[in-house]
């Protein structure tokens, strides 16, 4: 075998911009001439080096729009490699994860948190309710934007650690451990203490999805759903029953103090689950790395299907039940990243799927797949040729 360096995965200081300090409109204005020059010279990858505590999300979006420009020939945008050299917080962390290939130097710090707002005027009950609703919606939007950016990294992480599942089941003498339980436990061992708290938060969120959805499914029955409001009414009724049953041992629990806001939180959680459980992106997961989630026998059965579309459909059919719980956990993680302050190391960011590679760490990366080449003489062997042809 040989490794042939691929420029899509190799940072190039000769074709780079540097995002240092606060990201604002002024910085975007300053970087614009350099970006346009690099894009006009060639459509090769552009490296974005980052050392920033964050800034304005709209400025990051403007920067990304600029970096992803096409040209008069409708060329594909330049491939973007993002590299954090020291720290990437807040909006800078979003920029890091937005790279087509995202790299961290060791000992870097990456910080994710939810949307914040600073109000100049005194607050009233009405304004705080509105602000609360606005922040919740913005957090949901950012969570799903982050999910789109990092989904392929996360699914790749799953298929690469999946091989350790059987060993873990043996070690724990627990053959019934689900794929998700194995995945959660194996990744947790690789995380820092701060990241472990985040991982636990995501796990609890996923568990709550499961419990709530089970209650909603029971309550849905055979009644005809006429509109979105009908469906939401079923969900709300189920949540109310769920909360009453869950808190039946606590005589002080009531809806007026805390209970009602919990119902509201649950309602948004169920909605989050329903919107995302059959997401189109899950199909993408199934078709990119999904095949590796199958056993060798299953893969052989899939490969034996001659028609391309039928083969793809069969792959999705087999892979989907494996990846579905991982997908909902992943969505829960993206939402958990928007809660509180989540300070992460480069290694954490790798295992959480926020980045692709940590310089100097011996983790399996997508670069390994792309730069790998078979030896020419081995390809010429007749027995290998015949096995490849099959």
């Amino acid at each position: 075998m040989a490794i042939k360096p691929d420029k899509s995965y190799r940072p190039d200081p000769g074709r780079a911009i540097y995002v240092t300090g606060t990201i604002n409109d002024e910085m975007v204005t300053q970087l614009t001439p350099r970006i346009l020059l690099l894009q006009s010279k060639s459509r090769d990858p552009i490296t974005v080096y980052i050392d920033s505590l964050g800034g304005t999300p709209s400025s990051v979006e403007a920067l990304l729009r600029l970096l992803n420009l096409t040209d008069q020939n409708s060329s594909d945008p330049c491939w973007i490699i993002t590299v954090v050299t020291t720290r990437a917080s807040s909006a800078a962390a979003d920029l890091l994860s937005s790279g087509d290939y995202a790299i961290a130097f060791p000992s870097t710090t990456i910080l994710h948190h939810g949307v914040r707002t600073i109000e100049r005027d005194p607050l009233t009950l009405e304004t705080t309710s509105l602000i609360g609703e606005f922040l919740r919606i913005r957090n949901d939007v950012y969570a799903m934007q982050l999910a789109q950016k990092i989904e392929s990294r996360f699914s790749f992480r799953f298929v690469t650690v999946r091989q350790e599942f059987d060993e873990l089941r043996l070690k724990k003498a627990s053959p019934a451990m689900s794929e998700l339980e194995c995945f959660i436990e194996i990744i947790e061992e690789k995380l820092s203490d701060d990241a472990k708290k985040l991982w636990k938060k995501a796990s609890q969120r996923q568990g709550r999805y499961r419990d709530l959805i089970a209650t909603v499914a029971q309550n849905q029955g055979s009644s005809a759903v006429k509109s979105i409001a009908d469906m939401q009414a079923i969900v709300i009724k189920a949540i109310v029953e769920f909360e009453v049953a869950s808190n039946s041992n606590d005589p002080t629990w009531n809806f007026r103090v805390g209970g009602l806001s919990r119902v509201v939180d649950d309602f948004f959680l169920v909605n989050e689950y329903l919107v995302n459980s059959n997401h189109d992106r899950l199909k993408e997961w199934c078709t990119s790395f999904g095949k590796w989630s199958l056993t060798s026998d299953q893969i052989a059965a899939v490969d034996a299907i001659p028609d391309d579309n039928a083969r793809l459909e069969k792959t999705i059919e087999l892979v989907r039940p494996i990846l579905q719980p991982i997908w909902t956990f992943f969505v829960a993680l993206c939402h958990a990243l928007q809660e509180g302050e989540n300070k992460l190391t480069a290694t954490d960011a790798f295992w959480l799927g926020l980045i692709d590679e940590v310089i100097g760490e011996d983790f399996m990366t997508v670069r390994d797949l792309n730069e790998y080449e078979d030896d020419p003489e081995e390809e010429a062997k007749p027995d290998e040729e015949s096995s490849e042809a099959s």
């Binding site: 409708s74 945008p77 091989q163 997508v366 797949l369 490849e388």
Partner: protein, 55 residues
Amino acid sequence: MGSATIERRPASQIKPTVKRTKELRDAAERVYRRYGTDLAAFRKDIQRELGKREG
């Protein structure tokens, strides 16, 4: 004039990820043909190759 061969698309419709997904699928397929689902063996070979370079 080569303009007839240029594919005109609005910027919003350009999705490089689709192209990358296909490339990745092909790369994964190539690795699978040699290593099956044993990614640990694949990674080991990569490390060996890198070791050779450093030596």
